[in-house]
């Protein structure tokens, strides 16, 4: 049977853009990029981008005045988030998966509500599924454990709601939908061509625009790669929390375990060795990076609210970023809700919330202080192992999976 020989470039394209990457591969690469980001300045986080974007919007409209506000391209995380969206856009184009997908109205509403809940949860609890969990656990923060617990609880409750809604309010997810600019058949080759040009352009812009500032250059470059790899591997922390309760499949949880293990290793090396620091004081500051004052109740409450939002929206803070780049309009609304509510929450809700909570509910807990480095790492390894065993047992018995 004659088979058309692919050119070397064709094979290269097929390997990276022909089909989705296994999620665990994405998890490992993203964790490595996270370590690089930490080495450059500070770890990966998602919610900070929306806070910056929203603050810029409100400031430019004259609604809020925020002292010390940086423009999106002059704010490390504002830029990181933007490049994540654009990198995902390039990745979607290159794999012919870009299309503007407009869902039924009920879905767009859920996107907005989900994004708004995530804005509340991430500002109140401190941290999203990436900044507070995927980076938070490797940072050896005790509060991050309760944040993750909150995500699980919120996700479980929201999933119950979605199942109820599908049976009792089916109109919320039914109705007219539109798909625009999809790649159709052989004429769809415009997508990979545009994607290639756009990707090159992004790298050129990122490196030239910031040629006088190394930190920004790396945030731009890493941001592009984060977006691209997230889209290619469809890496999704929301899914890792949700899947055991939905289909019972273990692919997504295992992918985040891979990311957590690699991250744990790299972050511990950095903090233990005090990489890039010269004095004990600087080393301490480095060690406390991404350890937020939220142990334990504050993290739990914020985590539950965020977990509800991410499940309803269909993506967490970073999930919203890469799906936005892929053209999923439901997640555009999630991003909108997130960036509109986050600055308001930060300014008006968080101060009251924080002062209402007692001091013991919102402490900065760096686990090596009480357990030593190896004890802290061991604690996370044990938690991951127990979580893995639960996921595998649930996959086999289907005890908790609803569909």
């Amino acid at each position: 049977m004659p088979e058309k020989e692919r050119s070397p470039f064709g094979e290269l394209w097929a390997t990276f853009f022909g089909k989705s990457w296994p999620m665990w591969v994405g998890g490992i690469v993203l964790a490595v990029l996270n370590i690089c980001l930490f080495l450059v300045k500070s770890p990966w986080g998602g919610s900070g981008s929306y806070v910056n974007w929203g603050q810029n919007l409100y400031s430019s409209l004259g609604i809020l005045s925020i002292p010390g506000l940086h423009a999106v391209t002059a704010h490390h995380y504002g830029l990181l988030g933007l490049m994540t969206v654009l990198g995902a856009f390039a990745g979607a184009l290159l794999s012919r998966e870009f299309a503007i997908r407009i869902p039924p109205a009920g879905e767009m509403l859920k996107g907005f509500i989900g994004g708004s809940l995530m804005a509340l949860g991430s500002t109140m609890g401190i941290g999203c599924t990436v900044g507070g969990f995927l980076s938070g656990w490797p940072s050896l923060s005790g509060g991050a454990i309760f944040l993750a617990l909150g995500f699980g609880i919120g996700c479980f409750l929201a999933l119950r709601y979605l199942l109820w809604e599908m049976e009792n309010l089916p109109s919320m997810s039914m109705g007219k939908s539109f798909t625009l600019l999809a790649a159709k058949g052989t004429s769809g080759v415009w997508q990979p061509i545009l994607g290639f040009i756009f990707l090159i352009g992004l790298f050129i812009w990122g490196t030239r625009f910031y040629r006088t500032d190394a930190v920004f250059t790396w945030f731009a470059v890493i941001g592009i790669l984060l977006g691209l790899i997230n889209q290619r591997s469809r890496f999704c922390v929301t899914r890792a929390f949700r899947e055991p309760f939905m289909t019972g499949e273990s692919e997504a949880p295992i992918a985040i375990f891979a990311a957590l293990l690699v991250g744990l290793f790299g972050f511990t090396v950095i903090k233990y060795m005090g990489v890039g620091t010269a004095t004990a004081g600087e080393a301490r500051i480095l060690a406390m990076t991404w350890v937020y004052p939220h142990f334990w109740l504050r993290a739990l409450i914020g985590g539950i609210i965020f977990g509800l939002g991410m499940t309803v929206a269909g993506g967490c803070a970073v999930g919203t970023l890469w799906r936005t780049g892929e053209g999923q309009v439901k997640l555009w609304f999630s991003a909108l809700g997130f960036l509109l509510i986050a600055p308001l929450s930060k300014k008006f809700i968080v101060p009251g919330f924080s002062s209402a909570l007692p001091e013991w509910a919102q402490r900065k807990v760096f686990l090596p202080d009480s357990l030593g480095y190896w004890g802290a790492v061991l604690l996370f390894l044990v938690i991951i192992l127990l979580w893995y065993l639960f996921v595998k047992w649930n996959e086999r018995t289907g005890k908790f999976s609803a569909v």
Binding site: M1, E3, E107, A182, G185, G188, R234, R239
Partner: protein, 135 residues
């Protein structure tokens, strides 16, 4: 149809396919219907020279029910699929229309996990059409 090869007992067709995989079908024509006898999935870079013939034939293109999930993103397509399949009679074929790229992996996996038969996938005008048979 891109490629047609004639064999005794049937015709080998290479039909519309997503960029990453090629679906080979051995079809037997009878008046009015196309019966799919076998479907094998091949990677883009080699062509299998062996294929097995299954006894069952299904009328592939005539779906009993259609589920429109266009515009819906994860997790909605799978949730709706599960709900619809629960109510479907055994032996019936469901056509699922979707636009979420993730569904290309999710739907076959869900079928494998729940024991329902995944008959194949087509892409038409930016919309993915999945064919699932309830066992």
């Amino acid at each position: 149809m891109r490629d047609i090869s004639w064999y005794p007992g049937g015709v080998l067709l290479r039909g519309p396919h997503p960029p990453s995989t090629q679906y080979l079908g051995v079809y037997i024509f009878t008046p009015g219907f196309i019966h799919r006898v076998d479907i094998r999935e091949c990677s883009p870079n080699y062509l299998s020279t062996r294929w097995s013939y299954f006894i069952t034939t299904e009328v592939l293109m005539n779906a009993d029910e259609t589920l429109d999930c266009k515009g819906l993103s994860c997790p909605m397509p799978i949730m709706k699929l599960a709900l619809t399949m629960k109510k479907l009679e055994s032996g019936k074929i469901l056509e699922l229309l979707g636009t979420d790229p993730g569904s290309k992996d999710d739907v076959p996996k869900w079928c494998g996990k729940t024991g329902n038969e995944f008959l194949g996938m087509e892409e038409e005008g930016g919309v993915n059409k999945f064919y699932i048979k309830k066992t």
